[in-house]
Every structure is written in C-alpha cells, then in structure tokens.
C-alpha cells in the first residue's frame, strides 16, 4: 500500500511541478532584439533569490517588511526590457511570442491601454480558482519593449509597491489602471 502511494505521488510530481511553472513566461524569443537595442535589461529573481530576499530583508524596515510580505510565496520575478535608438526595431511578431503564451487557459487580460503618447500597456493575470497565481505586464512604445513576469501568488493591490524595487521598472501600472477605470 505504501509502495502504491509512493508510486502515485511520483506520478503526480511532474504534474504538480508543471502547474507551478505555468505562470512563468518564456521570454527567450525576444533575445535576438538585444543585438539591435541601445539598452537591454534582464532581471532574474528566481525562486532561490526570492528565498534569499526573504532571509535578508529586515522586518524593522517598513519598506523591506512590505516587500517581504509581497514576495512571500512568489516563485520568481522576471523582467526583460529593450530600448532602441530608432523606431521599428521590433515587430508585432516579437510581441506575439509573449501574447501567445498569455492566451493559454487561466490567463485573463485585466488592463489594455493604448495611447499614441504612452504606447501600449497590457496586464494579464493567471487565475487558479479565485486566486491569482501569476502576472504578466507587456509595455511597448515606438522605441521600447518591456515584459514583466511575476510567477506565483500575487497581491494585485500591493503590486505597485514592487515598481522600482528588486529591479522591477516603473511601469506606471497604478496610474494607468486608474486612468483606464476612469475611461470606463
């Protein structure tokens, strides 16, 4: 009986592991843009670094306490950002390599703002039941393309606090979300 249980758990392990990785977006399809970009930024805070961050952030510091709470349970924060000196250095097909993944079951687009001045911002969340288990932000304008992926349970209300921290760029999510809500 014990052997049967172990065999069952072993069969289940890859499924559970795959489930945990669902919220991780593959961004390597954008790597070729680095050769054309005036600046490429890659931030890789994987699960090991998340655990380190939880260990070293100090509860006595209000900011660090807040970030520590926010990243508790997260599987990773990944950012890939490209800045270009000229227009037209990336194509719609490049953005599609990301969007295709975000059409998978469970992902929902929460924010979709396009303006001539500020470009395009799309925010996607991955629901597992009522809980948010991942998030992706896609931001682009004529000379910039940024993808942010947060893997694991995310508190959307506190998300803005991560901007400018841990290498996450300031995307103006809160500002644009409010603007979008107002427009509705």
């Amino acid at each position: 009986m014990k052997l049967l249980l172990i065999a069952f758990l072993l069969t289940l392990a890859p499924v559970l592991s795959a489930r945990a990785q669902d919220s991780r977006i593959q961004m390597s399809g954008l790597d070729h843009l680095a050769a054309k970009a005036s600046q490429t930024v890659d931030v890789n805070l994987d699960e090991r670094l998340m655990r380190l961050a939880s260990r070293v952030f100090d509860d006595k510091d209000a900011d660090e306490r807040e970030v520590k709470k926010l990243i508790a349970g997260l599987k990773g924060i990944y950012v890939k950002s490209f800045e270009f000196d000229a227009d037209g250095q990336y194509t719609e097909a490049d953005i599609e390599t990301i969007r295709t993944q975000l059409r998978a079951p469970g992902w929902t687009r929460l924010v979709n703002v396009t303006s001539k001045k500020e470009g395009m911002l799309e925010v996607y969340v991955l629901f597992n039941g009522d809980l948010v288990h991942g998030m992706a932000v896609l931001h682009s304008d004529d000379r910039e393309l940024t993808v942010v992926n947060i893997a694991g349970p995310v508190d959307l209300d506190k998300l803005a606090k991560l901007e400018g921290q841990l290498g996450v760029p300031d995307l103006g999510i809160e500002k644009k979300k409010t603007k979008n809500d107002d427009e509705k």
Partner: protein
C-alpha cells in the same frame, strides 16, 4: 595492461581535479574568459590582504546619499582591464558567460547595450551566512571584474537596487585598489 589502466585512472583523476578547480574559482575563470573572448589582458588581480585592511576605512556612496561600506573586509577580488578594445558580439559573450556561471551562481541583473558596447552583469552565490557577489562591467575601452562577500544587510541593498548597489561595489573595489 595494469600500467595502462593506472595511467587512465590517473588522467581521469587529474581531469576531475582540474574541473573542480575551475568551478571553485569562477572569478579567475571569468577573467580568463574575457581575455580569450576579447583578446585583452588584465592589469592585475590584487589579492587583498592589502585592500582588506583598507576596505575597513572605505565607504561607498550609494543611492539616497547614504554612506556605507559594502564589501566585507578582505573579501574583494578585483581584475581591471584598462584602455583596450572590447569590440565584439555582446549577445554571444553574454550567452557564454551565463553558460559558464549559471550552475553555481544566480544571475540577478544583466544590462547590455549592443550599440554602445556596454555590459553589466551581477551574479549572486550563497556562502553560508554571507553572500558572494560577482559584478562584471565591460565598456568600449575598459572592464572590471569584482567579487566581494556581502553581509545579509548589504545583500538586501543589492536586491532592492541592483544597478545602483552594483555600481557602488565596483566603485568601492576600484577605489581601494587605487589607494
């Protein structure tokens, strides 16, 4: 036959020893990789009993104007490349570097500018109750490779502001070297 078998075993043992040594000293491996890839020579790797004494009195100015010593005393390894050409495929260099380090180091932030030939890489490694940090900075004519040990408190600073603190670590190491 026995002699051949012994020789094979000896060669195998020596090869394993070399691999272990290369893995154990990633700082030197990175310096060599830069030298081979860009065909340059570093100006020196001052091992830092000397700098270790100085580091205690050196402070780096980091984000927010706070003055703080980042590296643990005696922990700095530094290689400097001055006034040499670092022209080359930065994307391919990044791939090689990641391939070499990703087994033992965690990549935190990598910033590259293909158009300006500028690259900054920050890797972290758990070292018990402290942390090793490797900062590699390459621009058109100069490069530095810095490895330091950070306390948990200073690692928190690095995680919060990787770019600013990474720069401060390099600055602190090179200031020490020039003193």
């Amino acid at each position: 036959m026995k002699a051949i078998a012994t020789s094979i075993l000896l060669i195998a043992a020596l090869s394993t020893a070399n691999v272990v040594q290369a893995k154990g000293d990633d700082f030197n491996s990175v310096v060599k990789m830069i030298e081979q890839y860009y065909r340059v020579k570093h100006d020196g790797i001052p091992f830092l009993a000397k700098a270790g004494m100085k580091v205690a009195t050196t402070a780096a100015r980091i984000k927010g104007g706070e003055v703080r010593q980042l590296a643990e005393a005696g922990s700095i390894k530094l290689a400097v490349f001055e006034d040499q050409s670092f022209a080359g495929d930065v994307v391919r260099f990044r791939s090689s570097l990641n391939e070499a380090l990703n087994d033992t180091w965690m990549p935190l932030v990598q910033t590259i500018s293909a158009t300006d030939n500028e690259q900054v890489y920050i890797f972290i490694k758990d070292a018990g109750d402290k942390f090793n940090v490797l900062v590699i900075t390459i621009d058109q004519r100069d490069a530095t490779v810095v490895q330091v040990t950070l306390s948990p408190r200073n690692l928190a600073l690095l995680l919060k502001d990787p770019e600013g603190t990474g720069k401060a670590i390099t600055q602190e190491a090179t200031i020490n070297d020039q003193e």
